[in-house]
């Protein structure tokens, strides 16, 4: 699989999954694609369908209604797929620990490879996470 992963690292296509976030991480992800940060220089591109994706960017603390949908999205994705969790909500639960409608264990819904904490994380932190992922893929 080594050659495959090295090829994958040349151009990662990302699909954005929002699992009950506050929108902020999502906006910062879109910000990455716009002229100031411009991650397309690393070959990263946002795609409209999960079936084209190599990386899932997951945001938010999953609520009970969306958790099965996220699971289904993950199953639909072509493997190998890498999951990057953006924001404190996915890493911890932020301030939603006491809510009646959230899934307590997000790793039980989908396996997560990379965590980027922060509320919201700086775009630089997200770029670093993806660059690290590329580094791992390259061996």
């Amino acid at each position: 699989m080594g050659w495959y992963k090295r090829r994958l690292a040349k151009s990662l296509w990302v699909f954005h999954v929002s699992g009950s976030p506050c929108n902020n991480c999502d906006i910062e992800i879109l910000d990455l694609l716009t002229p100031k940060y411009d991650v397309e220089r690393f070959g990263i591109k946002l795609v409209g369908s999960v079936r084209h994706a190599d990386v899932l960017l997951v945001t938010g603390v999953f609520n009970q209604k969306i958790a099965p949908r996220i699971k289904r999205i993950y199953e639909q994705a072509p493997k190998p797929i890498f999951v990057v969790a953006i924001g404190t909500c996915t890493s911890g639960t932020c301030c939603f620990k006491d809510s009646y409608n959230i899934v307590p264990d997000r790793e039980a819904v989908i396996p997560i490879d990379v965590y980027v904490p922060g509320c919201p994380p700086k775009p630089e932190a997200m770029i670093e996470a993806v660059a690290k992922l590329i580094g791992v893929l390259n061996g």
Binding site: K65, A67, P68, Y100
Partner: protein, 142 residues
């Protein structure tokens, strides 16, 4: 004449426990008068329905309608007190179209049934995977 005075004179006999604060007017109305008061506030005075709040009190479930009179910055807040066991009240959707979601949300959270609502279904927990049989906020203690 100022709208609040006018309203109090016209509807005064129906209102109880009136609290008047600057730019805010809270009062209780009997549940059967909801349509009359909403019709006067929305159609005659030209108020906008901001939203409605439901809350649990010792006496029962209370719904507060927040009507905003935008040209004066004035809020009219009629409140109705409903039976805790079987909360039912007339829907104001025939008068205010914008109340569709607001009433569905109250039904979802507190189990209040609105008679005459075109689509009395859960709003946020529709097709919820847990198959909830109770309102979302029912019996939840902080």
């Amino acid at each position: 004449m100022d709208e609040v005075q006018q309203f109090l004179e016209l509807m005064g006999s129906k209102l109880t426990r009136v609290v008047q604060k600057p730019r805010r007017l809270y009062f209780y109305i009997p549940p059967e008068e909801v349509l009359t008061v909403a019709d006067y506030l929305f159609n005659q005075l030209g108020c906008r329905l901001s939203t409605a709040t439901a809350q649990e009190t010792y006496d029962g479930i209370e719904i507060i309608y927040h009507f905003s009179l935008d040209r004066k910055g004035q809020y009219f807040c009629p409140r109705v007190l409903l039976n805790k066991e079987q909360p039912r009240v007339k829907s104001i959707v025939p008068i205010v179209q914008g109340a569709i979601w607001i009433e569905r949300e109250i039904f979802d959270f507190w189990g209040v049934e609105f008679e005459g609502h075109p689509r009395m279904e859960r709003l946020l927990a529709l097709h919820h995977p847990e198959n909830l049989d109770k309102p979302l906020r029912f019996g939840r203690q902080v």
